[in-house]
Symmetry: C2
């Protein structure tokens, strides 16, 4: 292999593919990046066997070939090189890198021994606008279940219908659902559970990019493809296994009615809950009292060792089943902070259902995002 | 105690004094901040018994008194309050804090039980310009010895002479010395060893401030005092114990001559040493070869498992005892990176003394800072 490539082109690719390499102790070759030549591209690939990334960097291919090279050393080394042309050459499984006044040799491992990253063939794809898709993923990605007792809850559920996709995550204490509508209807009705790790990498890799992603389906895997700007050739492919199992029918958890609905300033509510949290006990408990008559929301917390906090916010009661009844609900303040942090509007709608019923937070005037949170039971 | 105070005034003080509170398990009252009223000031104090901080916040004192209150809760709570007036009131060792629509009670501990922070009386002080003093401290503070086998090396040595102060730190592998000249000569010739922790707090607290610090001496302690802007009243006092013992006579370690002196671009040298470090072995070894005939410096590193790196930098040989002799010295790359990172000029002077002699790094055209580094011995 012999390749001439601009530092920038190589560096941009390495930063992305090195994200999944370099964390495997049992199979050392997975700490490496696979370099391959393809027409006028240098291909960079990595995989942790659940998630694979491939990046195509434009370069001048003088001799074809391939090798795998330690990801961490190669990436941090190339990152420090000046913004010049780099000469890469492979001889006897050693990669020589020459750039200006800097000469380096890195020992590699045979490309034959690198696991094959599966491909998805065919034309069964959906086009997704990157910006809303990454924003939507980021609004639900934190709320998957952390442990493995119910694997199907450890990922994000993507439910594609003709005109929309719903992104859902829940850890059974809270649930977030984002709906994205398509500009054009599709005839693809599919659903799958995407591992949280893949979802986080999608945000990390694509959230600064613009344009469209192609999403290819297969029964056990999905492929996200980002094209090289102004060409049909892919620049980045991310292939991920899916989580097996059926996602629970969560629609029953989303309350269809409420005892009281109050509209508050999002920042004021978030700030007062953070303030109250300083005085919450070990259970992270804060009490939310809604007084429809006074049109105010009271936030209380108490810690017998430290002290107590009480604040009052004006809250417009937009609807209530009983205009005189004061309601009081106890929440884990972290769950409220998490939900509010994912609401982008200046006003938030807070719907409460008594001491034990699930509450809903959502942006005012926007039905495409909702966050359901269970109260802490007092009994 | 009853005080009305602007949030900003209280918050600015709490951020500073809370730095040393809140880390003591054996004496819980040290996790608290001491609040006292003094004329038209609210005094905030904290100590860890080695380092004490006092801050005076301007406020309206309606009733005198004092209390100690948990530092972490008070500081994070006040920080979240709106930029308004705060009413503080102490009753039965509980501090009530009212601010707009927020009411809070924090349980305190008796001010009588708080350890007395010693004072230094008298007029025996030196005035220091904050900006160069903090910059100078920051150029040596990282190089004190980490362990307690030689306590006198665990601090920074400040040696005040009539026209200057020398700031020195060494861990016996490397030594940094900064000299600051005074605008006016003093008649104070004093020296002491300041704990590294105090030095770091001086940088943290004062490096964004301007003007002058007063430094008061006593045999076992020093006091740094920062005045309230446009008044003679102190705003911040930092009192620190000193490290006992005699600082070693380090002047003998600083080489008075060199085999070869080379001038290099600081950023290029730093960058190439970082690049070489990727391929250095477990001993962090990089080799520096100076070739006076070719006027170049070669940087080499090698790791039998990973590979090797070689780079060449143009280096102006400003002086050499033998214009034909190539010298080669092995260094711990971290020590070179640390020294170069504290040199602010664009060119660096590198003076080498063969395989085993100490080398010196210093800014070109500036004799007020020098960094001595011992090579790694090959035998």
């Amino acid at each position: 292999m012999k390749v001439i490539i601009l530092k920038e082109n190589l560096n941009n690719g390495l930063i992305i593919v090195s994200r999944v390499a370099g964390k495997n102790l049992t199979l050392p070759i997975l700490n490496n990046i696979l370099l391959t030549t393809e027409k006028n591209f240098l291909g960079l690939s990595s995989t942790d066997l659940e998630l694979g990334i491939k990046y195509w960097s434009l370069g001048k291919i003088e001799r074809e070939g391939s090798l795998t090279v330690p990801a961490k050393a190669l990436t941090s080394f190339v990152n420090l090189l000046p913004e010049k042309k780099i000469n890469l050459e492979v001889k006897n499984q050693v990669l020589s890198i020459d750039c200006e006044n800097n000469q380096t040799k890195i020992k590699g491992l045979d490309a034959q021994d690198y696991p094959i990253i599966p491909k998805i063939e065919g034309e069964n794809y959906i086009e997704l606008n990157i910006l809303p898709f990454c924003e939507g993923i980021s609004q639900v990605v934190d709320f998957t279940a952390p442990n493995q007792t119910r694997p199907e809850l450890s990922g994000i559920y993507l439910n594609f219908q003709r005109d929309r996709v719903q992104l859902t995550a829940t850890d059974s204490f809270r649930l977030a659902e984002k709906t994205l509508y398509f500009e054009e209807k599709t005839n693809k009705e599919q659903s799958f559970i995407l591992p949280q790790k893949t979802a986080r990498e999608l945000i990390n890799i694509f959230s600064e990019k613009r344009g469209k992603l192609k999403l290819y389906f297969s029964p056990n895997q999905v492929l996200f493809e980002y094209p090289m700007p102004e060409t049909p050739h892919p620049q980045i492919q991310i292939i991920s296994r899916l989580i097996e199992g059926d996602y629970p029918d969560y629609q029953g958890i989303i309350p269809k009615k409420y005892e009281v609905q109050v509209v508050l300033s999002k920042n004021e509510l978030l700030n007062q809950i953070k303030t109250a949290s300083i005085f919450s006990g070990k259970g992270n408990e804060v009490r939310i009292k809604v007084n429809p008559k006074k049109e105010e929301v009271e936030i209380l917390s108490q810690n017998p060792e430290l002290g107590e906090n009480r604040s009052v916010l004006p809250g417009k009661i937009s609807d209530s089943s009983d205009k005189t009844k004061e309601t009081e609900t106890i929440f884990n303040y972290r769950f409220l902070v998490d939900g509010l942090s994912n609401i982008k509007s200046s006003k938030v709608v807070f719907e409460l259902n008594g001491e034990e019923g699930p509450a809903v937070l959502r942006p005012e005037g926007d039905t495409n995002y909702l966050y359901v949170v269970m109260p802490i039971k007092t009994t």
